[in-house]
Symmetry: C2
Subunit: 202 residues, 2 copies
DNA sequence: TGGTTTTCATGAACACTGTTCAATTTTAAG
DNA sequence: CTTAAAATTGAACAGTGTTCATGAAAACCA
């Protein structure tokens, strides 16, 4: 390589992300290490550090593509639904399905803890905001009068779905063992929104 | 020490858990290591392995006391509430408060992943079941006719509260940043239960 | 008391991890 | 062809969890 060869730079970055993604998808987040990536690619560890500042940056880049995949999935699944309630229920189902199909990659997103004192990079934050905006937009018709309450509803639903998926995936607190996450997700979305409507009628 | 000195055995175990708990509480789960515990206690690493089979067992034991503390907290806070709805809202508030006050210790519970293929030890599973039973019992009066639906409601609420707290604590998806977790928790519990009731009326 | 046996404590050793960096090779420019 | 810049390398450093042969100490028995 010589001076200013940015082509190779981008190529190596892509390869690293590709290998890292496949490793996580197949063997889980615990088995991801710089050394293993280097061995699989066939280069030295230092080479990777020439293109990523550390492992965290690799993880965040992988997570970024996972978030993009989720967004595409949600956008595709909730294309044009007549009923707003049905659309949000469908959103929940899509989210649960995505978690199931991308177990290890989604775990990597959830497990990631940003270094204390630092904030998410702007490009990453934007992805999260976009994803959340999707939910807010879908919830808006159901609480038409009040946009503040629409946003709160979106936050509750988003967090609630996250909780159901997180417990379902880890099996940790055994809460979701008996009943499928899909059933719980539908129950959450339907009844929460029903409750919002009922509250508005009082 | 000599043969059959169970007193020292239990004493050392207690000390290890004490030191581990304080370390996590003050510096977070990432800074927990066998070597640091040993140094803090003033013994060799091998000594700890004489009393715990590995770090995972230490973590699970710490988590066990955290779960006990949460259970005590919830039991105390939701002592005798007349209204079932108010009681469940209170439960949510207590849960959120507990997460706030025991940030690092509760993170340790959430972050723990059990080794693939293995299941939670019986004594740990029992704690989780007890905790969950608390929610189920409180939800029962609100869906009196159907115990199956009561359990589902409990699962949804439990998972939902977990999601709100998890996102609030990590600040990861920035969902809970604008509004406090307490507000979201109350919204979740109130409207979900209101929805359940409305559904039953149809 | 002395000798024996069981039990416990020790820390070096092993196999890992992320990260750094001086030395080397490769490549491009002049 | 020389030179300088850039990219690659892998040894080195500071960590991690875990194991285990060795030595010390305590308890049992005579």
């Amino acid at each position: 390589m010589g001076r200013g060869q940015k082509v190779e730079y981008g190529q190596l970055r892509a390869t690293v992300i590709e290998v890292a993604t496949e490793t996580v998808r197949e063997h889980g987040s615990a088995s991801l290490s710089i050394r293993k990536i280097a061995k699989k690619i066939g280069c030295a560890v230092g080479t990777i550090y020439n293109v990523f500042s550390n492992l965290d940056e690799i993880v965040m880049t992988v997570n970024s593509t996972t978030l993009s995949a989720l967004q595409s999935r949600l956008l595709a699944d909730t294309g044009q639904k007549e009923d707003a309630l049905a659309a949000l229920i469908g959103l929940g189902q899509s989210y649960v399905a995505f978690c199931r199909e991308n177990f290890n990659l989604w775990s990597l997103v959830l497990e990631h803890k940003l270094a204390p004192g630092s904030t998410l990079p702007e490009w990453h934050q934007q992805q999260v905001d976009d994803l959340f905006l999707l939910v807010t937009r879908m919830a808006a018709p159901l609480v038409a009068d009040d946009s503040e309450r629409a946003e709160r509803a979106a936050r509750v639903l988003w967090a609630g779905l996250h909780g159901i998926c997180a417990l379902a995936m880890s099996g940790k607190l055994d809460v979701v063992h008996a009943e499928s996450a899909e059933v719980l997700a539908e129950s959450l979305v339907r009844n929460y929104l029903l409750g919002l409507r009922a509250e508005g009628m009082v």
